[in-house]
């Protein structure tokens, strides 16, 4: 029972972090139709920048906030590079792959190759059903739930959110209606950067990250986003949770080395299931 609760809670919090990454994918795809493969890079920037700020004596809370803001700015810059010009969608997609590789190089140059971590917000761990739970898990759960509610509401219920969705749904008609499609795309990239950054800020205290952690984070986030066909924020959260929990149970009851393999197998199953339901990104 104790182990079960521990795996479950760890799985839920890691799953929510994946869901944050997934939301970044969904947000950017819904507005620009670009699958932003640099989504994982925002997370490593978020983690590493927090790490440096904390080391420089900036207090907890402020460090995390600044790191998320910096990631948002990086998101904006990536957006300008990827969709700023009049270039085909496929070119934008390839650019985001390039940006992800570039990010790894930059992080490696600045911070080196050693994995980093930092402690989460100070405070006592607590005990549920005899399991020791780090306080950080609670923080992850609360922070991501707040973000999810804000996003689902913002996208689905507000006029501005609908205008953003309209951009990917029919960019030409959006322009005819007076929506600045390019500006909306850049806003999406900025928000995507913030989401990715927040994911990195939250996950680094749970498990150390390296300069190259962006790939596995991006893949898991992408997989979770696929569950919602890249357009549904709600299903992306479900996807993230499935991956997070499955990963922990596999690692805990079976073997940690099977963790990635199981995640990928799960991804393939989901892709097949998704393909039968609705075509991925069925925005036509």
């Amino acid at each position: 029972m104790t182990a079960f609760v521990e795996y479950l809670l760890t799985g839920v919090s890691r799953g929510l972090v994946f869901a944050l990454l997934a939301m970044g994918f969904v947000l950017i795809y819904r507005v620009t139709r670009v699958v932003n493969f640099a989504q994982g890079a925002f997370a490593i920037f978020g983690g590493f920048i927090t790490y440096s700020l904390l080391k420089a004596g900036v207090p907890h809370g402020l460090s995390e906030l600044l790191a998320v803001a910096a990631s948002a700015l990086i998101g904006l810059v990536f957006g300008i590079i990827a969709i700023g010009g009049e270039i085909p969608l496929l070119a934008s997609l390839v650019i985001t792959i390039g940006l992800s590789i570039l990010s790894e190089a930059i992080v490696m140059l600045i911070w080196g190759t050693t994995p980093i971590s930092y402690s989460g917000l100070a405070g006592h761990d607590f005990v549920i059903f005899g399991a020791f739970i780090q306080r950080q898990y609670l923080i992850v759960i609360i922070a991501s739930l707040v973000v999810f509610i804000a996003l689902v509401y913002g996208f689905g219920r507000t006029y501005f959110g609908k205008a953003m969705s309209a951009c990917a749904s029919n960019p030409y008609a959006a322009r005819l209606s007076g929506i600045n499609v390019k500006k909306m795309g850049l806003i999406a990239f900025t928000l995507g950067g913030a989401l990715g950054g927040l994911a990195g800020v939250l996950i680094t205290p749970l498990s150390p990250i390296t300069y190259s952690a962006d790939i596995s984070l991006a893949i898991t986030g992408f997989a979770a986003a696929i569950v919602g066909g890249l357009i549904s924020p709600g299903l992306a959260v479900v996807g993230g949770l499935v991956f997070g929990i499955a990963e922990q149970f596999v690692a805990g009851y079976w073997s940690p080395s099977n963790e990635t393999a199981v995640a990928l197998a799960l991804l393939i199953v989901l892709l097949l299931w998704q393909a039968r339901r609705v075509p991925v990104g069925g925005l036509e």
Partner: protein, 237 residues
């Protein structure tokens, strides 16, 4: 870009005070293809104007240039008041509901209340929470027209009203356009393959061929014009 949307009368050629939309010697190119080669048209306040011509003549290009989607290589556009554009192929937002489609029409300003549209097309009210992508062609055309009307335009440009629609649906929607024109004084620029319909409901018309305005005049005159009859009205009688 700015000069293209200028609202001041041009140097040289004057614009009538009751003109809402006009172009002067408009030239638009797609790479090496010259789609519009010196097109001058105008639409007056509350006027219904038809633009007819064969496939590839440049009709949609003209509307897209008026809407700022295409940039002219040369020439000038004068726009006084708000233009709304119902594009060829309707171009609804397929993933959004009918109501959201309508509300987004008011993005540039105007009331976001869709109720007047449901009065105009009562069928739409029952469909308000349906995905626009799942509607029939005729329903989508109503959505597209209402979305444009939500901007409260002074002139509405409709590209291929009748495309792919049953004759009854077309005449129903056309009747609504005429009503709207009469009641609100909204000017209409109607691009149509169905020349008979277009010339019947408008007062003036342009015939565009190969990027040139080949003919212009009163719609009733063009209806009797032998060349127009031969090319666009089946040439019978």
């Amino acid at each position: 870009m700015k000069s293209v949307e200028s609202v001041q009368p041009s140097q040289g050629r004057s614009v009538d005070s009751d003109t809402v939309l006009a172009t002067f010697d408009l030239v638009v190119r797609y790479g090496a293809v010259v789609a519009l080669d010196g097109v001058s048209i105008h639409v007056r306040k509350g006027e219904m104007v038809a633009l007819i011509g064969p496939n590839g003549a440049g009709k949609s290009t003209l509307l897209n240039t008026l809407s700022g989607i295409n940039r002219p290589a040369s020439g000038r556009i004068v726009r006084k008041g708000k233009l709304a554009h119902v594009p060829e192929g309707r171009q609804v937002f397929p993933d959004l509901t009918v109501e959201d489609n309508l509300c987004l029409g008011a993005y540039r300003g105007g009331s976001r209340n869709p109720a007047p549209m449901y009065e105009l097309f009562p069928q739409l009210e029952k469909l308000r929470y349906r995905r626009a992508g799942g509607l029939s062609g005729g329903e989508q055309q109503m959505v597209a027209i209402c979305r444009a009307l939500m901007a409260n335009p002074d002139v509405i440009a409709v590209d291929e009203l009748s495309q792919g629609l049953a004759p009854l649906v077309v005449s129903d929607i056309a009747r609504h356009l005429v009503e709207l024109n009469k009641q609100h004084g909204t000017a209409v620029l109607l691009v149509e393959q169905n020349a008979q319909l277009a010339l019947n409901i408008t007062s003036r018309a342009y015939v565009i061929e190969n990027g040139h305005i080949g003919l212009e005049g009163r719609s009733s005159d063009l209806l009797r014009n032998p060349a127009v009859r031969a090319a666009y009205l089946g040439g019978v009688r």
